[in-house]
Every structure is written in structure tokens, then in C-alpha cells.
């Protein structure tokens, strides 16, 4: 008895409206231009995982800010190339005095800051001295070796150190060596001013930072006019963004298991190089069972590193055996110091008299740590250890429990800072609680000697560290990048603090 034709008409109208809405949204055809608005020839979108909290790396920790800004917005006197060598940047050349304490830099003459001011030796002096006086991050201590900074001429700068230091020039390639304008440090958190080829054009918080190419850049003009750095918390979302042309490059692949979606597909290229991220099975050398060297050595024998890497990071990455990444000049393969040997591990553990004690493996909630934690636990248990695995929320809970209070026996964490052997094992108050005067003496010798002496001493230090079993080095994180096949100039190795966009292009 109910005749519903008019009603159906209303429903129909509503459905039609909805369809229209959907169609408008789906229109305009290809998504190549839709996802990443702009001309693909001059525009590039790079997908990254950690968004900066602000743009001021003089006051805020973390790798995200220098990753986006260093070499792109800010420039240094010297920069690091792909082989890990120090190269000229704002300094065209430099000389080191006989006593190895004084560096004389000759600077480029025509560089300007994005606020229009010319870059001179006065700015360089201002920038170096500002690290000690105004910076608040921990890296500022890397400048404490500087004694005086003198302006010789507008394009010549002389820096005298308190003691000779090879490390200092290296640190000048990192964030502490960034050159600031004397008239451009008012609003660093939101408006960075540098001499680099790009300026920060727009920041959609929680989504992306857009860099625009400068027209008045002093050096070689980069290919892309606009580069958008897009931030993703979730590895799947990052992959989907590349698959749907929303981005052109995955800057750091967080899920090696999903690489198969891009490999053997001519639309994409996969780049695999190395990073500075040593994934440590860190030990508490100061208290608990791992204070005993026999237990530490037993742990190292008990772990089958090859099998572990295959299981938890899809076999991507490099086994290193000590705290030196393969791109450092003093790298040596130390994996044979403790080859996988379960019987030896069991024997050592029995000898140590600690066999019944439970090891607390307290890992942060980070992809590689959670993936490797269970494998480490089961391998250790096969060799007779008792292991209790705790996951601590990262960063807050892990930082308090493991890092600050050293309330742990073992943890798994990647130390991604460049050349961080000293930082991680050079102080007995650091969370590894490693205390070796011999090790510290070698590091000091390396820093103050000639380049040959530096290499020899660093090698000896790394070997000593590994022999002592101060930690176990699970593997070196790989630099996995995936990009549209026609993108050129992607850095194979991620070894500087910067994601250098200046060399990228399209073939």
C-alpha cells in the first residue's frame, strides 16, 4: 500500500549529489600531478619519517632539523662528500699550521645570505663563537676545543685550537659548523637564514616543509625549483605515498620487508648504501651480570649475527663487529673476533658463575629494536642464558630507565651520530658504563696526531673495544632509499647529518 516512488526520487537525488562530490574529487585524471602538486620537472617530493619540532638546531636536539636544513638552507665552511672526505664549501681552501693548532680558511667572496646580507669572515667568526655562548644542545661541546677566532680579512679566517684536534675539522661539517648571518638569528625556530641554495618557503606543520630555490645563490644552481619534504609516521603510509605518486623519493625506508614492492619494478629504483647507525646490543658494563667480562664474551659468542640480520632486517645491512661504520677511514672488519659458537658461549657462561641469573633485555619501541629483541632473546636462551625481555616506550620511558638510570643489563639501540665511539664508550658515566683508561688514551692520541696516527689509533681503539666485549654490534643500519626511476644524484650512503638535495636531478 505504500508507494515509494517520490521517496526514491529523494534518495536518488541524495545519491547523485554524493556521486558528484566523489567525481569532482576523482576528476582531473592522472595523479602524477595530483598527489604532488606542481610541475614534475621542477618539483620534487621526498618522504621522510621524523618531522622537526622546530627549525632551530642550536636549541633543539634530534637529527630531523639538520637533515632538512644543513647543506640545503645552511652551509658550512667545509662539507662531507660521499666517500667521507672533507671538501671545500664556503671555504675554498684551508691550511693547518705546523703545531696542528691553527686553521686558516680562505672563504668564497660572493656568497650572500637569504636575507640579502653578504657572507664574510665576520659572520664565520660570529657563527663559531655563538656555539659556545648561545647554543643549548649537547653538540656545543664539540666547539669547546676552540681557543680564538680571528678575522684576518673579509675573506680570511683564522681559528686557533687549545690542543690539536682532528675531530674539530670533521665536526665543522656537521650542524655546529653551520654559518649564520649576524643579522638573521632572531627567529631561528621558524625563519632560518643561511647561504644555501634553498630557503624554507612554507611549513605545513605535521605534514610537510617546502623548500624553494634561491635565484641569487652564489654556487651551482640545483635542478629542482621546489622540494617538498613530507613526513610520515607510518612506514606503510610512506610506501603507499610513493606507490600513488604522492612523493618521488622515500628518503629512509623503515620496512625492508616491503622492498619487494619496488624491486623488479622498472618504475622505481632501489638504493642500498650504508649509514652511521650502529645497532648496538648495549651492555651495562658497570653493574649486574654483564660486569663480568666472561658473561659479555659469552653473549657475543652466542649470537649468530648473520641469522639475526636475515630475520630482523631482511638481510639488509652490514655486520661490522665494532663501533666503526664502513665509511669511516679507520673501518676494519672485526666480525671474526667473536664468531658464532654456541658451545664456547655455554662454557664461558658456566665458568663465569653467573649462569643462573636473569638478564634484563630492555628495548625501546623502535622498529629495528622490537624486530631484533625476540631473536636475541631466543638465541641467548639456546646458549643457556635466562633472558627477560621488556619493551619500553621510546623516547620517554627508555630514556629514563635505561639511558639515565642505567637500570638494565642489555638494550638494543642504534647510535646514529657520526663518529660516536668516544661519545658512547669514552665516559664511565654514560649509560654503557664502560670504563677503560687504555681506550680513552688511544682516542686522545688519535685526535691529536697526524692523519696516519689518527687512523692507526682509531683502529686500535675499535679493536680494544670489541675485544673487551663492551657491547655487541648487531649490524650497521643500511641506507635504503626508493625513488622514481628517473631521479638522479641520490646519495648512496647516508653519512653526513644532511639530506643533501643540491645534487638531485631527473634524467
Amino acid at each position: 500500500m505504500w508507494r515509494n516512488k517520490p521517496l526514491m526520487r529523494h534518495v536518488g537525488a541524495a545519491a547523485a549529489t554524493l556521486t558528484c562530490l566523489l567525481l569532482t574529487a576523482c576528476s582531473a585524471g592522472s595523479l602524477a600531478a595530483g598527489g604532488s602538486a606542481g610541475d614534475p620537472e621542477t618539483t620534487l617530493s621526498v618522504g621522510l619519517t621524523a618531522e622537526p619540532a622546530n627549525l632551530d638546531f642550536t636549541k633543539t636536539e634530534g637529527a630531523a632539523i639538520p637533515q632538512a636544513l644543513l647543506y640545503n638552507v645552511y652551509e658550512n665552511l667545509v662539507k662531507l662528500d660521499q666517500a667521507g672526505k672533507i671538501r671545500p664549501a664556503l671555504a675554498t681552501s684551508w691550511k693547518l699550521s705546523k703545531d696542528r693548532r691553527t686553521y686558516t680558511f680562505h672563504l668564497v667572496k660572493d656568497a650572500t645570505f637569504s636575507n640579502g646580507a653578504r657572507f664574510t669572515a665576520e659572520d664565520a667568526k660570529f657563527s663559531i663563537e655563538r656555539v659556545a655562548s648561545r647554543w643549548t644542545v649537547a653538540q656545543k661541546s664539540q666547539m669547546s676545543v676552540v681557543d680564538t677566532v680571528r678575522v684576518v680579512a673579509s675573506d680570511e679566517l683564522r681559528v686557533t685550537l687549545k690542543t690539536p684536534s682532528n675531530d674539530w675539522l670533521y665536526r665543522m661539517t656537521t650542524r655546529v659548523g653551520a654559518m649564520f648571518s649576524r643579522t638573521g638569528v632572531k627567529k631561528l625556530a621558524t625563519e632560518p637564514v643561511g647561504t644555501g641554495p634553498y630557503v624554507v618557503k612554507r611549513w605545513n606543520r605535521g605534514d610537510s616543509i617546502t623548500l624553494a630555490r634561491r635565484t641569487d645563490y652564489w654556487g651551482r644552481t640545483p635542478h629542482f625549483k621546489t622540494v617538498a619534504l613530507k613526513y610520515f609516521k607510518d612506514p606503510t603510509a610512506l610506501n603507499n605515498a610513493l606507490l600513488t605518486n604522492t612523493i618521488n623519493v622515500i628518503g629512509a625506508m623503515q620496512s625492508p620487508d616491503s622492498l619487494y614492492r619496488f624491486e623488479n619494478n622498472p618504475k622505481y629504483k632501489v638504493i642500498e648504501g650504508s649509514t652511521n647507525g650502529e645497532v648496538l646490543l648495549s651492555f651495562n658494563n658497570g653493574s649486574g651480570p654483564l660486569r663480568n667480562p666472561k658473561v659479555r664474551r659469552a653473549v657475543r659468542y652466542a649470537i649468530d649475527h648473520k641469522a639475526l640480520l636475515d630475520t630482523c632486517w631482511a638481510g639488509r645491512g652490514k655486520l661490522i663487529g665494532s663501533m666503526v661504520p664502513s665509511t669511516d677511514p679507520w673501518y676494519q672488519d672485526l666480525t671474526d673476533l667473536y664468531p658464532y659458537d654456541r658451545d664456547k658461549a655455554e662454557k664461558l657462561l658456566k665458568e663465569s658463575g653467573e649462569a643462573g641469573r636473569t638478564l634484563r633485555l630492555r628495548i625501546p619501541t623502535l622498529p629495528y629494536a622490537t624486530a631484533c629483541g625476540t631473536v636475541v632473546k631466543s638465541q641467548l636462551e639456546q646458549a643457556g642464558f635466562k633472558v627477560k625481555l621488556d619493551q619500553l616506550e621510546f623516547p620517554a620511558a627508555w630514556l629514563t630507565t635505561v639511558f639515565k638510570n642505567a637500570d638494565y643489563d642489555m638494550s638494543i639501540i642504534s647510535h646514529a651520530e657520526p663518529r660516536d665511539m668516544q661519545a658512547v664508550f669514552g665516559s664511565k658515566t654514560y649509560y654503557t658504563r664502560y670504563d677503560s683508561p687504555a681506550f680513552r688514551a688511544l682516542l686522545k692520541k688519535a685526535d691529536q696526531g697526524t692523519q696516519e696516527q689518527q687512523v692507526a689509533s682509531m683502529r686500535a681503539a675499535a679493536r680494544l673495544l670489541s675485544k673487551d666485549a663492551a657491547a655487541d654490534w648487531l649490524f650497521l643500519l643500511p641506507n635504503l632509499m626508493v625513488a622514481d626511476a628517473d631521479i638522479t644524484g641520490l646519495p648512496k650512503n647516508s653519512i653526513s647529518e644532511s639530506l643533501d638535495l643540491t645534487g638531485l636531478g631527473r634524467s
Partner: protein, 316 residues
Amino acid sequence: MIVRLVRRIAVLLASLVVCSVVVFAFMAVLPGDPARVALGVSASDSAVAQLRTEFELDRPLVAQYFSWVHGLVTFDPGSSYISHTAIGPQLADRLLVTLWLVGTGMVIACILAIPMGTIMAVRHRKPSGLMLSAVSQIGVAVPAFLAGILMITVFAVGLGWLPANGWTPPVQDPVLFLKQLVMPALSLGIVQAAVLTRYVRSAVLDVLREDYLRTARAKGLRPTKALLRHGLRNASVPVVTVLALQLATLLVGSVVIERVFVIPGLGSLLLDSVAGRDLTMVQDVVMIIAVAVLLVNFLVDMVYLLIDPRLRVGAS
């Protein structure tokens, strides 16, 4: 009436105070030192202590609470611990994004649920009605994030029709904005529609049994016209109430949806701030959501008083 109004406002204010105390207390007991998190793994203890002083974390909790509330009430929430930038504009930006998402989700839910629910009621004994009923049952069971992931797999990765994620403000690029809005809004809207459909159905069923509809039909109106002209308006009262109450669910749902679709709204701000121990930011975001829910409930109550004279009588 006025007594009732005053009493309701008093309840609202009291709820806000209780809410703020609870939110603040939870943040205070959250493990992890914000200063330590802000300074990272290589910071010295003295640097951490200095930052704690700067953040005013060493002041008594009560003093911290009052300065926080003062900032909120004067619409000047100050700067974030972590980003050193003003919180106010960030909150406004993120709130706008979430309002777009929740608003569009709500509209989609209404567009789907009102006709569907009506048809289900009108044909509640016929196969078509039963089928719709089953479909809506599925909708109730599917969480919004799953709907989102399925849509991404099919429409973005599979067919390549829509971007898988991202957000562009409408003034910047309206077409891209719409493309990016469709799937997240649909995943929120569809799930919401499934719930709403069932309320519409029962409301319309109630109305269909009313005498005045029979009267209208007796006066010669065709059944559909009678329902549209007299029935739906009456049926809408309970539906509007439910709609307002569902706002809270939508806001919570958007937290997850924003993560799935990488949308910089209030929800993703909340998650990031919790992870980064940006405590003032977390407190502010949670308070905004609490205020929104309490205000909507309050407004619904007021509207009730206005449209239903029986309540006014009952109150006095």
C-alpha cells in the same frame, strides 16, 4: 526555565574544572621527563636541570596547574616545551583540519543514513529493507581505520584514483584538497552512518505508528508525502540528539583516521605530543576535545528545553 538554565551552566563549569584537574593530574603522573626527552641522549644532567627550571617543572604542581589554566582562560597557552614556538596558532591550524574532517564525515553520515534509515523503516518487512539492515549491521562492525585501510588499498594503491594520504589546505589547492579529503571523510562517515541509520530507522518506525500520520493520510495526502511533510520533521528530534552525542565518537575516530591518512589534525598532534612528552600541548589538546564534547552536550540540552515544552514544565 532560568533556574534550569543557571543550574545547567553551573554543571557545565563544574565539569570543565573537574576535567582540567583530571587531565593535569594524568599528565603529572605520566612517566618520562620532558626535559630529558627534549635534550636527547647526549645531554648532561646539569643541562637537563637547567631546562627543567626553564620549563618551570620544578615549581609546585598546584602553581603549574593554575598557570596552565590561566593561559587557557586568557586564550594565551604560551609556548611549547619542545618546539619553542607558540601553541595557540598551532592548535587553531590543527583544529581547523579536524573540523573539516569531522564536519565532512558528519555530512556524509547524514546523507547516507537518513534516506537509508527511512527506507529500512518504511520497508521493514520487505526483503530490500532487511538487506539494508544487514548492510548497516556490517557497517557497525567495521572500525573506521579498517575501512580507511581497505579504501587506500583499493582506490589509491590498486586503482590509482586518489592519493593515499596527505593534506593540502583548501586555499592552497582546492582540487587536491577534495581528493585528499574524500577517503578519510568517507571512512569516518560510513561507519558513523551505519550507527546513525539504526536510530533513523527506529525514529521513523515510531513516527509511522503515530495518529497524526493516519490523519494526514485520511485527509488525502499520499503516504510518502505525509511521511516527508509531517513524519520526518518529528523523527528528526531524537536523531539530532544522537548526532550531537556521536560527535565525541567522531573526534576519537579522527585520531586514528588522521594517523592512517597522514593528516595533520588535532589527533595526530595529540599522538606526536604524547610521544615527545610535550605536556602542555597534550593538556591543551585534550582540554579542547573535552570542551567541545561538553559544550555540544550542553547545547543539545538547551535546544531540548526550547523545543520541548514538557521538559520545561518538568523542570519547574
